[in-house]
């Protein structure tokens, strides 16, 4: 299989449409014939990351590289950044507002879920300039 690169813009502020990028990626991974559990893990990570970009960072973009051995998903935003990454990684820690909660998010499980389902995860962030979350999933 040739390496594939996919790029998805993620609109900020639109909590109703949030998840469309993840959905599209999932369909593409299916077409590429990847194993179902790999697709599921990648989709969950991307979905949590997409929701985070929408509710915490006013949108951004996702870049997905499908290689021979692994899928790399980069979620890049120019939002407020994360002041304390260790705290953000704790289960239950959330700064999400009521709008996110009404839709069933904001339980502080997003980043922990991404960690749980990925083989590698890295957060680069700077307060005031943005956040990039990179996850890798072995195929």
């Amino acid at each position: 299989m040739e390496p594939v690169k996919l790029v998805y813009p993620v609109e900020g502020g639109d909590l109703i449409e949030a998840g469309e990028a993840s959905s599209k990626m999932k369909l593409t991974l299916k077409k590429l014939g990847l194993p179902p559990d790999v697709i599921r893990r990648a989709s969950i990570c991307m979905y949590e990351g997409e929701i985070n970009m929408v509710i915490h960072a006013d949108g951004g973009r996702a870049e997905v590289d499908v290689g021979m051995e692994e899928i790399t998903i980069r979620m890049i935003d120019q939002g407020p950044g994360i002041p304390d990454v260790n705290k953000a990684m704790e289960e239950g820690y959330s700064t999400a507002g009521d709008m996110a909660r009404d839709l069933g998010f904001g339980a502080g499980m997003g980043l922990p879920n991404m960690k749980r389902y990925s083989d590698e995860m890295e957060i680069e962030t700077a307060v005031g300039s943005g956040t990039t979350v990179t996850i890798k999933i072995k195929i």
Binding site: K26, Y47, G104, F105, M109, G110, R116
Partner: protein
């Protein structure tokens, strides 16, 4: 458990997928927190929830879930149903509350852990 049995136990109306009730679910998950649902990976699962927004369908889709049962008689709007149809996820609506709906399915053998 077949979805037709789920429907019967929950006394549910089928809002999408009336012709797909011969599908099987192996486990179930009840929650109004989508990240909670996403933390739970099981094959061929049923989701019970009191939320009726599109993120519920997307969450179920990411998890490859087969069916969503909305509790407390909550009905999603047409755009949410259209999304379920697009993702081929059966949608039901039961008058029962979450606790009762889960309990009734559980005693009939549908568990959280397979």
């Amino acid at each position: 458990m077949k979805l037709s049995e789920v429907q019967e136990i929950l006394r549910a109306d089928v809002l999408y997928g009336a012709d797909k009730l011969d599908r099987e679910v192996m486990s179930a998950c009840g929650s109004d927190f989508m990240s909670d649902v996403l933390a739970y990976v099981k094959n061929q699962a049923l989701l019970l929830t009191g939320l009726v927004n599109p993120q519920v369908i997307r969450t179920a889709d990411m998890m490859d879930m087969k069916c969503i049962a909305f509790v407390r008689g909550k009905k999603p709007d047409d755009s949410v149903l259209a999304l379920a149809q697009e993702r081929d996820i059966v949608v039901m609506c039961t008058p029962m509350r979450m606790y009762d709906a889960c309990g009734k399915l559980y005693i009939k053998g549908l568990r959280g852990e397979v």
